[in-house]
């Protein structure tokens, strides 16, 4: 530990109106180090980031940047010290060109009043060359892919002499290929002496990219060290404080007659000639990279998209699923991948979110709601799924990610469900709730539900399914038995790279 750390925080404490967010947290990052900050929702990691970047002031503690000590920072100071944060939404301007997105920040920092396009172009060109990106500077950013937008955010950060780049869950919307590209960029930055603070809860990434880690739980630092010495079980233990057994799903009582039968389903530009059967009691995992067509496939089963050709049969009967309502009536439920925008009505009550799809059933003639029935249903499912909420009238946005996901699940379980599709069942859900949801899925399947999960979380796929279908470029490339499969096999099949 000869070199001065680029960032060191000691004894950081912060409370908000009586709620303690951080208690005496310490962390240090050396120059050129890739450090992972991990923790569940509520662990305090976002608060810590905001303190480091100057958005908040700590109640106590010291922030030391390259040897200079501060009791707190302002955002401008943090930027001047070389600390840059890349938020999950990248903070880009979709309506402006790449060039402007890259140049505006530095122009503003230099207190420019007049826009000089020639200078902006120079700045932008310099930025993209640094990263090694080949892109049309005049293209509107809204037309770019998520990964490109992220690269723009990173290039922009570099323009301001960053010494430490903090990335908040950078891989959540990226395909495996793009994640690899991002990691290459990160390694390149490392060779230039930059440090990266990588906030993530995905263990594989923690292992793959970072050298050291710090784990927060309930506002305290519970572990730190080199990632080389860490293993999955210990990681999960530190994150949640609980021990987890490695479970697998062994399907019993598989129904004889397939409850869902798909034959040669094709949708141009998404998937082609998809055929498979699903029986009660099975959990089939469809895995593949983002873009393999898996979301389009399940959304077709749910009535959001319409196939160009092919057949879908539910319980032996051929069916044209022309809209979501038809799908629901056929007993299909769908937990979408983007919970916040597609799954929930955030400011509305837990109860409303829960009963939204069964209002038909719970209303009398003329459409009058049967209030008692609604309240009973809500109470029942809150108890069944152990949803942690004091009152079903509270807005659902007050719940944690895991509990929110449970509300969405409850919504479907309350319908007349035979087939449940979950896209990214534990995305953005903390490890504790993740295992809860896995156990729940296994229990539901054992009780006769047919489940399809779409996931690229390979351990999740292996732990929860009775059958795996690997999808690549719109087709199923292989069907596997999870008991005989390893993560690396899945990874190779998904990417097509041996």
């Amino acid at each position: 530990m000869g070199t001065t750390p680029v960032l060191k925080v000691e004894g950081i404490t912060k409370s908000f109106g009586g709620v303690q967010a951080l208690k005496g947290v310490s962390l240090d990052i050396a120059p050129g180090e890739i450090h992972c900050l991990a923790g569940e929702n509520g662990s305090g990691k976002s608060t810590l980031i905001k303190i480091i970047s100057g958005v908040y002031e700590p109640d106590a503690g010291i922030i030391e940047v390259s040897g200079r000590r501060f009791s707190h920072l302002t955002p401008k100071e943090a930027i001047n010290l070389g600390i840059q944060v890349i938020y999950q939404d990248f903070s880009v301007f979709p309506n402006l060109s790449v060039m402007e997105n890259l140049a505006l920040n530095s122009e503003l920092m230099d207190n420019r009043k007049i826009m000089n396009y020639k200078r902006a172009r120079q700045i932008a060109t310099q930025a993209v060359t640094q990263i090694g990106m080949d892109i049309d500077l005049d293209e509107r950013v809204e037309n770019l892919s998520v990964a490109d937008k992220q690269l723009i955010a990173i290039s922009r950060a570099l323009l301001q002499n960053a010494k430490l780049i903090i990335m908040d869950e950078p891989t959540s919307a990226l395909t495996k290929r793009e994640v690899k590209a991002l990691f290459d960029v990160i390694k390149k930055l490392q060779t230039r002496g930059l440090s990266i603070l990588f906030v993530s809860h995905k263990l594989d990434e923690v292992f793959e990219i970072s050298e050291r880690y710090t784990i927060l739980r309930s506002g305290e630092k519970v572990a730190n060290g080199s990632t080389g010495e860490l293993d999955r079980k210990t990681f999960a233990y530190y994150m949640t404080g609980r021990e987890f057994a490695d479970e697998k799903y062994v399907a019993k009582n598989i129904g004889k007659v397939p409850v869902l039968s798909v034959k040669e389903l094709t949708l141009e530009g998404a998937y082609s000639n998809i055929s498979f059967d699903l029986a009660a009691g099975e959990i089939v995992a469809i895995t593949g990279l983002l873009g393999s067509g898996r979301t389009e496939l399940v959304e077709t089963l749910f009535g959001i998209l319409k196939p160009d050709s092919g057949e879908i049969a539910i319980k032996g009967k051929r069916l044209r699923i022309k809209n979501v309502k038809t799908a629901i009536r056929s007993g299909i439920g769908y937990v979408p991948v983007d919970r916040l925008t597609e799954g929930l009505f955030l400011p509305q009550s837990v109860e409303r979110n829960l009963i939204v799809s069964i209002l038909d059933r719970l209303s009398a003639r003329l459409g009058f709601l049967r209030r008692n029935a609604l309240a009973e249903t809500t109470t029942k499912w809150i108890k069944e799924l152990s949803i942690a909420t004091k009152d079903p009238e509270l807005p659902v946005l007050a719940l944690s990610g895991g509990n929110q996901q449970k509300v969405v699940l409850a919504r479907w379980l309350a319908t007349d469900l035979s087939i449940l599709i979950l896209n990214g069942p534990t995305m953005g859900v903390d490890i504790g709730a993740k295992y809860d949801i896995h156990s729940l899925m296994r229990k539901l399947a054992s009780n006769g539900l047919a489940i399809i999960i779409v996931s690229d979380d390979l351990p999740e796929v292996l732990a929860c399914s009775s059958r795996i279908l690997v999808m690549r470029d719109g087709v199923f490339v292989k069907e596997l038995d999870p008991a005989k499969t390893t993560e690396s096999m899945l990874s190779e099949l998904s990417t097509g790279i041996a």
């Binding site: 939404d89 880009v92 301007f93 402007e100 007049i114 290929r177 793009e178």
Partner: protein, 338 residues
Amino acid sequence: MISLRRMTKRSEPYVFAVIVALSLLIQARSGQFFSGNNLVDLTRSLIVPAMFSIGCMMVIVSGGIDVSFPAIASLAMFVTDKVLLASNYSGNVLLAYAMSAGLGLLMGALNGFLIGFLRLPTLVVTLGTSSLYTGLMYGAFAASASDVPPSIANHGKEILFTATNASTGLTSNMPIHIFILIGALILAFFILRYTMLGRGIYAIGGDEIAAERAGFNVRGIKMFLYSFVGLLAGITGIVRISMMSYADPSTMLSMDMTVIAAVVLGGTRVTGGVGTLIGTVLGITLMTMLSNSLILIGIPTYWARAFTGAVIIIGTGVTAHQTFSSRRRRSQMQKAKA
């Protein structure tokens, strides 16, 4: 640098095409459209709405919507008129412009404060201030149609040139106010394109949070924006009454919706972040053509409003369809790339 492909995605070329088509149609039916005097009349009619549309467009680009500009223009011009009449003012018309502009600026600044600092929703705030200002005008100032001071009237008579229609012998005068419009357009263009303030307006319209994070002074920019709209409105008020040589407080009040419709027809997105002055001018031209020139293709004036409504509906329908399908194309492209 503007590829042909990118051109087809924008609305401005379509509006232009519609204008051309409409003018040819009118010309065919009446032979009068391209006559000098008709074109001058047309230009004369669009000066006031066009001046309104500049500020209106800037607000919509920033992601907001302002319906109070006619009320600001009316109140500012009315107070100015009354004060100058009462003091028997006979000096230069510039004072009238300055006064009205100043009053407009203050009124707009109230919007800027409520929207920029208190972050209240734009439509409702401007509805409120519109009501406030209209009420003040009719209530506190007991506004009614009145004359204008001589300098304003004389100013109104200043003309750039006269155009004569060869066949009908009718003449139309191009008012000097066209320079004010051109000046305002140039100023707005410069601000929007070449100042950080202007780029900030686009940035805020694109993603306000990102703009804040990038270091834009969002509150200050909004304050400037709405004050600027007020200033322009005040100037427009004087332009109006001098062109008419008559101060009627109610004439501008119904313009809010047609100006907004014109701005949107011209390609400015209601959601913000996208829009050009050229498109706005095209939109205003189209709307003005519709209200003025329909009589030339035999649509009686009584049906003009219905016709305008239909055009707004069709125009916004097409724009909405464009945004919709380009969004779908974009997400498909993104999926394909991944």
